[in-house]
């Protein structure tokens, strides 16, 4: 007993000596994405450097969102660090629910964070969450099918070219579909894609007075284009397809093109899972010549809830997990293809990373997205594939259900847009806009 206590005391003392402060146990809420799992595996490095230990709470994305929202609004104090996205950060920052991250130290090099990421994770110029990894969306296409169709994919195609190529690549008898796009209802599912797509068609969710714009011609063109394209060249049952469903279709060689998160590039080119790993090319998300592309911007970021007693230790963790050194650490253990992408400029200047086939297209996609000016016409909101107001998730999920029903053939584009306009107007009025 005495020996055990003595050992404990010795361990505690050594931890204090190592950390220069009291060793804490941090509780971190996160999602089950590959980069996060890798981070969990490397936590020992953080503990060795600081003495702090980490308890992980990994949850399904929607459960996580509900869980951390409950905790942060009630000041439950269950988590010292939360994994959140670009949607929550400005809203929560505005409400004073997050600890500002404006003092991460000179060696952290905050200016190295990609400007689009920094902008999307700030409120009023103050950073409230540090990007762990970032993503945009881009076209992933089958080079062999494109060649067979006699076409060449430009680096920055138009929607008309994409539609033409999709129809040319489609061979329904052999279960090859020219294009796979999200159809499953949800604000983070089909609406993420369609909202980003609508930006490139000149549409917007609201005008400057917060009036819903689903009755505009631009939205009608967007939705009609999407539905026609999916009916002609999309897979059957597309109204149930989200990221993972399309990923599996693409990996099995059933999609000619897939427009989705840049992070998918490493999955479709991984020969262990993908049957088409060596036949994938990348291009920017399409446009219509109006000056905006149909790509989104998202970051999985680490934030500290206001009210945690362990803010200093939590900042140390964030400094570690989102640093340049962490990227080097992952590269040394797991290879450059597995480092968390899309957060730091220096990564894309690193000669080791430049050889990764999708690296430059990912960077260009991220750079071409501007969450502060997402649309052709001016809007009162921030966010590309979402509108950063608390009401958005609920409204967009309902609108997503209407659009998904239109894709399933249960209603026309006009009917879906009419309902979307009505329900958005009602919800915004009820919310006092």
């Amino acid at each position: 007993m005495y020996l055990r206590n003595a050992l404990r005391a010795a361990t505690a003392l050594s931890l204090i000596a190592a950390g220069g402060a009291w060793a804490e146990t941090l509780t971190i809420a996160t999602v089950n994405n590959g980069d996060m799992i890798r981070m969990q595996g490397l936590t020992d490095d953080f503990t060795a450097k600081t003495g702090h230990t980490v308890e992980w709470v990994t949850l399904e994305e929607n459960v996580l969102r509900q869980r951390v929202t409950t905790d942060i609004t009630t000041k439950g104090g269950q988590f010292d660090i939360m994994t959140i996205g670009m949607y929550e950060t400005p809203i929560w920052g505005k409400n004073g629910w997050l600890v500002p991250l404006d003092d991460l130290g000179a060696d952290y090099d905050v200016d190295d964070i990609l400007p689009a990421m920094r902008g999307g994770l700030s409120y009023d110029g103050t950073l409230y969450a540090a990007p762990f990894y970032g993503e945009s969306s881009m076209i992933m296409y089958r080079t062999d099918l494109m060649e067979k169709a006699g076409l060449t994919m430009p680096d920055a195609p138009t929607w008309d070219f994409v539609a033409e190529a999709a129809r040319a690549m489609t061979d329904k008898e052999n279960e090859v579909y020219g294009i796979c796009l999200r159809g499953k209802a949800g604000w983070g599912e089909n609406m993420a894609f369609l909202t980003a797509m609508s930006n490139s068609f000149g549409a917007r969710w609201f005008d400057e007075d917060w009036n819903a714009q689903f009755d505009s011609d631009a939205w009608k063109t967007t939705l009609t284009f999407y539905l026609d394209l999916m009916n002609d060249a999309g897979p059957p049952g597309a109204s149930n397809n989200g990221f993972n469903e399309n990923l599996s279709l693409f990996q099995q060689g059933k999609c000619g093109m897939w427009i989705d998160a840049t992070v998918a590039a490493s999955f479709v080119t991984n020969p262990n899972d993908s049957t088409v790993a060596d036949k994938v090319g990348f291009a920017l998300a399409p446009d219509t010549g109006l000056g905006k592309r149909g790509n989104w911007l998202w970051a999985w970021a680490l934030a500290i809830p206001a009210g945690t007693a362990k803010a200093d230790a939590a900042k140390e963790f964030i400094r570690w997990a989102t640093s340049k050194e962490y990227i080097e650490l992952v590269a040394s253990k797991e290879g450059w293809a597995n480092v968390p992408p899309g957060a730091r400029t220096s990564l894309y200047e690193n000669p080791n990373y430049k050889d990764i086939p999708f690296a430059q297209m990912t960077l260009q996609s991220i750079l071409s997205a501007d969450p502060l000016a997402p649309t052709v016409d001016p809007v009162p909101y921030v966010g590309i594939q979402f509108v950063a107001i608390p009401e958005f998730a609920g409204i967009a999920t309902e609108v997503g259900q209407e659009f998904s029903a239109a894709l399933a053939g249960q209603q026309t584009a006009e009917q879906a847009l009419e309902k979307a306009q009505a329900l958005t107007t009602d919800a915004m009025e009820a919310a006092g806009y």
Binding site: A29, E60, R67, S248, Q251, A261
Partner: protein
Amino acid sequence: MARAVTPRRKALTTALAWAIGFLIFFPILWTILTSFKTEAEAIASPPKFLFFDWTLENYGVVQDRSNYMRFLWNSVIIAGGSTLLGILVAVPAAWSMAFVPSRRTKDILMWMLSTKMLPAVGVLYPIYLIFIKLGLLDTRIGLIVVLMLINLPIIVWMLYTYFREIPGEILEAARMDGASLRDEILYVLTPMAVPGIASTILLNFILAWNEAFWTLNLTAANAGPLTAFIASYSSPEGLFFAKLSAASTMAIAPILILGWFSQKQLVRGLTFGAVK
């Protein structure tokens, strides 16, 4: 008069029963099969039923990444604790309703059941705030109390139904022989209602084991049971079905085995009083 059953009819009924049984069991079987596939095979289309490369890889990954025993232990304590606590409260309640009913007994029973009609999320915030005040967040004792409360109406209803089948005269006789109220419940009523109580315990244990709203929303790093273990294997970006299936199989295995061993007891209890 017993109806004549032809062998043909018997065979048909048996086949139908097996078919329905298989249909109900199929999702579990599919989960178990998927847990032995690679991620690519798990989502293969057309789906592969039995002819794939069986692998234990997913179980290895799950073992490496999560502390299964801690989640299992939490599940056992939370499900077991809430069941025992529930029985302790419900036996006297059901006794009084079954043997000393008042004019309002039926209303009270109905009112108790009506609490089940409220969506759980409707009281998430009040409960969460109470838990913060009492320091019960992420504790097993907090979950034991909450799960006991949400399952209590069902326990009381089930026990009430079983107790009603027991003739009041037997209890009266015990009372005339000088049994106290405690003796009456403990030594006369309870032994006679053992099948009913056992199946109530089992059903409540299964309900508490599978409960996935409160157990996810009120726990963090310490008290998470197997539902939290399963939830950690779903991924928004990346294939996860094989690993999720492995985690699910590990989570349902104990309760599945318990169910198999206590099948007779469970069926007997659930049909108790169905035939007079």
